[in-house]
Symmetry: C2
Subunit: 349 residues, 2 copies
Amino acid sequence: DKTVKLAVIAGDGIGPEVIAEAEKVLDAATAGSGILFEKTRFALGAARFLETGDTLTDEDLTAIKSHDAILLGAVGGVPGDARLKNANIERGLLLKLRFELDHYVNLRPSKLYPGAPGPLAAPGDIDFVVVREGTEGPYVGNGGSIRRGTPHEIANETSVNTAFGVERVVRYAFDLAERRRKKLTLVHKTNVLVHAGAIWQRIVDEVAREHPHVAVDYLHVDAATIFLVTNPGRFDVIVTDNLFGDILTDLAGAVTGGIGLAASGNINPDGAFPSMFEPVHGSAPDIAGQQKADPTAAILSIALLLDHLGLREESARVTRAAEDDIAARDGAARTTAQIGDSIASRVRA
Amino acid sequence: DKTVKLAVIAGDGIGPEVIAEAEKVLDAATAGSGILFEKTRFALGAARFLETGDTLTDEDLTAIKSHDAILLGAVGGVPGDARLKNANIERGLLLKLRFELDHYVNLRPSKLYPGAPGPLAAPGDIDFVVVREGTEGPYVGNGGSIRRGTPHEIANETSVNTAFGVERVVRYAFDLAERRRKKLTLVHKTNVLVHAGAIWQRIVDEVAREHPHVAVDYLHVDAATIFLVTNPGRFDVIVTDNLFGDILTDLAGAVTGGIGLAASGNINPDGAFPSMFEPVHGSAPDIAGQQKADPTAAILSIALLLDHLGLREESARVTRAAEDDIAARDGAARTTAQIGDSIASRVRA
Ligand SMILES: CC(C)[C@H](C(=O)O)[C@@H](O)C(=O)O
Ligand SMILES: CC(C)[C@H](C(=O)O)[C@@H](O)C(=O)O
């Protein structure tokens, strides 16, 4: 039997609820397959910080690195909680994991599943993947301020973009486009961010030459948001930087029926570090513990995890089960566990 | 009689067509009012660059500064035109005007006019204004690259945010909120861009204390894009930085029936420099000269111009005429001039 060491970070808010369902589905999909998921639970997030003052210790990080993959729910406390004022769980935990584990591909598929209620009157067929760079750009934390708190304060943030970092994610995106509908759209803001824009454009142009069958186009980020609501069907693979990818994928989640369905993988394709799978949504403390959260995004993240581990058939079964469940929805309220149970039983069927 | 010196930059692509209609409507709205618009035409844009190699000379700038206001159509050549490779009309002309004329308020109202076709199935009432900072942030052009064109290239872009610059635009936004539904939303990405985010949050908190009747909230930019498609009615005044404002206003234009209706003002509220009014859309070279462009965004920019000049009644007449025209649309194709004529005759009525 093969053993997969899985680090589970359920996190805060609705994290534990959606992860419980994701684990149900993982168990259902791999039962009898001869693959054993050996889970280690890591208590990380706002709750841990409030208890111990720690966000992510060196020991946590070392322990997590010894796993094959990571499943993460959501992290982050109640907005405005004064005790978290200086915590920044996002930077100290979530982004730290992405950076330390060199998750340079942030993979975010968007699909309008039949039956999913979306906000668009005429959405058309939506099925694209955003390949968001995960370790550079405006996210590097290369900022600072002087004369803080005074009328003379100046606060800077520097976006850092390297040929090394851009090329590897662009290559990943082209490879993905080759396996899909062979269309790749670079999204940036080259007319304003001329230096960062130029390195992205240059590298896309260069790698494009190795992929003559992939049709390549370019959109400014502002124009891309327009197309996401007026003609999302035009996209196949979008490659973009860390910040633009953040913005586009939340919008993409919204137009495809809500952030409750949007899955993501933070991937280190080299395999040097464990990749991490998480729903795009946050911890939503306002509905936590009420069984109101939709676990589908977490469950679809399981499908990405299984695919990443090479368990393609198991992955496809999870995706199909989730799709079938979505198609069968009639608007009646279900608990988080009811949705998880329904998908798990479809996986077993 | 009062004379207003108006600089007109029709620009490229559809610019001249939509500006012709905007001028018709301006003339109609001010005929017999005793206000004389003395127009100077500036040939600026890609066409001028191709002819002379100049983008915006010191003489141009000095001449423009001697005017009371500026009306701009759209600038920018055909994408991919090799002769424009090193031009960057956007930075060298449009952004240069905004920066040199200290247009620190980029005012972009979004309204779903009755009858306007939008992409949302259930848009609700949409009526908000984005107050976008216009002279700082990631737009400052503070970037560079080393080892350009090599596998070791590093390209940086620095977002610069000053207390001076943030406070003045935040104050403008609060004053506007006082005159509207008294709700202000700060949009940023404070959890990631911690330094730039902190200065915005601090100043909004401080100015909020002087406006106890304005309800203030905060959204991360990614979440804001979700609300723009799921619940745009929640917004009244949005205040945000230069880049986030660029993205949100294109998206806002799309959800309110298309960028053909979105007007904007680049305002220097101090009056030290002329303010500039322009449609949010670009030069759309693909449909230029075909009378296919919708001049409504340019015409609604005239309403903003008139309002800025204190001609409130004339402004309201233009807005009403455009709204009436939109409400009467039945989907039949009309030329740019037909739309302009229709709105101009409604203004006169
Ligand atoms: C929580 C935040 C740091 C994060 C991001 O900006 O990447 C989130 O929005 C996401 O998209 O995963
Ligand atoms: C053309 C471009 C420089 C400009 C901007 O980014 O501000 C445009 O998109 C706008 O919104 O007016």
